[in-house]
């Protein structure tokens, strides 16, 4: 825990000792992360992360919005997995309300969440390989990511800031031909993962740069609050989708990949395997997609269909009331966690019985995972710091909020 004390570990006046500032504008820090490195030659003796460059006060803004307006803010926290954040927030509010969500909406949420995981892992793999020097993987990954973004655009009208989930269900019924497009992608994708693997998994340079680098033990990882693929690569078999299922994940069969080495290479293998598992879940969701409504039967919370609004007086009144003055949520508090591509994404929502949340706090996985970076980089080379940052897959928007 050397980074905890404010005093530097080395004396900068000594020969060979240097304090190096890395970032916030540095292509390998995945955003605006600043690292203060104390180095002796090429050896990193101490690393202190400095964050907050992307702080926009989203938690404060949430307190001034209606419950349904907060959904669009949750996209902007983590722009690589918007659906996961949407899901976590709407689940938290639905738990506060005690709402039952129809099965079709739940399965659609699972399907889109797994596509989001693939999307996020593709960006991670491309940029991580780019950092270490493998340029071509990036182009391959972004080719498939484009397909996923087209699917998102089809279903929500947006490529990145989707806001497709609503409190009580989904915004819209998926368009005609949607499932065929997803099916085509899901059938094609495993072969594409083979392509990425053929470029990297047995590549000698890749292995030399990643094996034994950025190692963290299972005890340290748990103590530092690391979650998600980074934790599973250290040998802790824990996945919220399986261990604390939400949104009907208990109806899907999948395998949770675990590795024990705890280094950059193990984290790479875990994520690549996760992409294969995710596409398996997508296939199951496509095969068993239930029919039925996509919104809960709660007229005071869920906006009525357009058609009903034009024919029924009551629906029009409810629509007007929800849009102009929101809906009230019974007082209380919930903490809802979901397995985001980066780890445990948690929303702590406190209600005081009004139409605006009293407090919304996001427990972001990148925020906690970043705390493990000093331990991973202790007494390693500067070049390994770049590999380690890439391997924990941080998104600065989520860290700073």
């Amino acid at each position: 825990m050397a980074h905890l004390t404010p005093t530097p570990a080395l004396d900068p006046t000594q020969e060979g000792v240097m304090i190096l500032n890395m970032g916030p504008q540095h292509p390998s820090t995945h955003g605006v992360l600043r690292l203060i490195l104390e180095i002796e030659g090429e050896n990193v003796v101490r690393l202190v992360p400095d964050i907050g460059y992307l702080h926009t006060g989203i938690e404060k803004t949430c307190e001034a919005k209606f419950y349904q307006q907060v959904v669009v803010l949750t996209d902007r926290i983590d722009y690589l997995c918007p659906m996961t954040n949407n899901l976590c927030y709407v689940l938290a509010v639905e738990k506060l309300l005690g709402l039952e969500i129809p099965p079709r909406a739940q399965w659609m949420r699972v399907l889109l969440n797994e596509l989001t995981r693939i999307n996020s892992h593709l960006v991670w793999l491309g940029t991580h390989a780019l950092d270490i020097g493998a340029m071509s993987v990036f182009l391959y990954c972004f080719r498939e990511r484009e397909d996923v973004l087209r699917i998102f655009e089809m279903v929500s009208g947006q490529r990145m800031m989707t806001s497709y989930f609503r409190i009580g269900g989904l915004a819209l019924e998926p368009p005609r031909g949607f499932f065929q497009v997803v099916k085509k992608f899901a059938d094609r994708f495993p072969a594409r993962v083979d392509e990425y693997e053929s470029l990297l998994t047995e590549n000698r340079i890749w292995k030399d740069r990643t094996r034994g680098v950025g190692r963290i033990s299972a005890e340290d990882a748990v103590a530092l609050g690391v979650s998600g693929p980074s934790l599973r690569a250290s040998g802790v078999d824990y996945d919220l989708r399986r261990d604390m299922p939400y949104s009907s994940y208990d109806k899907f069969r999948f395998h949770v990949p675990v590795k024990h080495e705890g280094d950059v290479y193990a984290r790479y293998l875990v994520r690549v395997q996760e992409m294969r598992e995710s596409i398996g879940i997508v296939q199951q969701a496509l095969a068993g997609m239930p029919e039925g409504p996509i919104k809960a039967d709660a007229p005071k919370v869920v906006l009525p269909d357009r058609e009903k609004m034009k024919t029924q007086m009551e629906a029009l009144i409810y629509h007007f009331k929800i849009v102009t003055e929101g809906f009230t949520v019974p007082a209380g508090e919930v903490y809802q966690a979901v397995e985001s591509p980066r780890g445990e994404m948690g929303y702590y929502v406190v209600s005081d019985g009004t139409a605006k949340p009293y407090r919304v706090h996001m427990r972001s996985p990148s925020f906690a995972n970043l705390q493990a970076l000093p331990t991973m980089c202790h007494n390693r080379l500067i070049a390994d710091v770049v590999a380690a940052i890439g391997s924990i897959d941080i998104v600065l928007g989520e860290i700073d909020r």
């Binding site: 907050g52 005690g98 979650s227 802790v236 903490y335 906690a368």
Partner: protein, 163 residues
């Protein structure tokens, strides 16, 4: 919409493992409890927080500190509630701890010695709410600039405009 009423009577929650443990080992540490929407919350006396946390970690395997945050109930007193979300990975169980703090004396003991993960979380709470954590080695602002005045997530801090 259906919600079961919350259980707020500590006696009725007696048989829950965290309450039973803390009541026998640290009498007076638990000042209240709540079981609502499937989540268990305990109110802990400020002086006993660190001891209670290390007991929960060693005896009930709450080995993962998921989150630390704060809620400002301004203008009511005690004003602040610092909220800890614990997770036991082996037992797949969650627990929420809360500590009430008066506005004039918003400080409590740091739990970084129990879970190193508390480092960033406590710095964030200090930064945005002005709650001090004694025993934290590096309690500096985390998200806001170092020379910022005020604590933005307090309820008497405006959402927009200048102060």
């Amino acid at each position: 919409m259906s919600l079961d009423p919350a259980i707020t009577d500590l006696e009725a929650l007696q048989e829950r493992a965290p309450i039973a443990l803390l009541r026998s080992a640290l009498p007076g540490a638990v000042t209240g409890g709540k079981f609502d929407r499937g989540e268990l919350t305990l109110w802990i006396e400020r002086a006993h927080l660190r001891e209670a946390c290390s007991l929960l970690k060693s005896d009930l395997h709450f080995n993962f500190l998921a989150d630390v945050t704060c809620v400002d109930w301004h203008p009511t007193e005690p004003r602040f509630e610092v909220v800890y979300h614990l997770l036991s990975i082996p037992r797949k169980e969650r627990l929420r701890l809360k500590v009430r703090l008066a506005g004039g004396d918003a400080s409590l003991e740091s739990v970084t010695s129990v879970w190193p993960a508390a480092d960033f979380f406590e710095r964030e709470v200090f930064d945005l709410f002005g709650v001090r954590f004694q025993g934290h080695l590096n309690l500096r602002r985390l998200l806001m600039p170092e020379d910022w005045e005020g604590h933005p997530l307090r309820k008497d801090y405006p959402v927009e405009g200048y102060r």
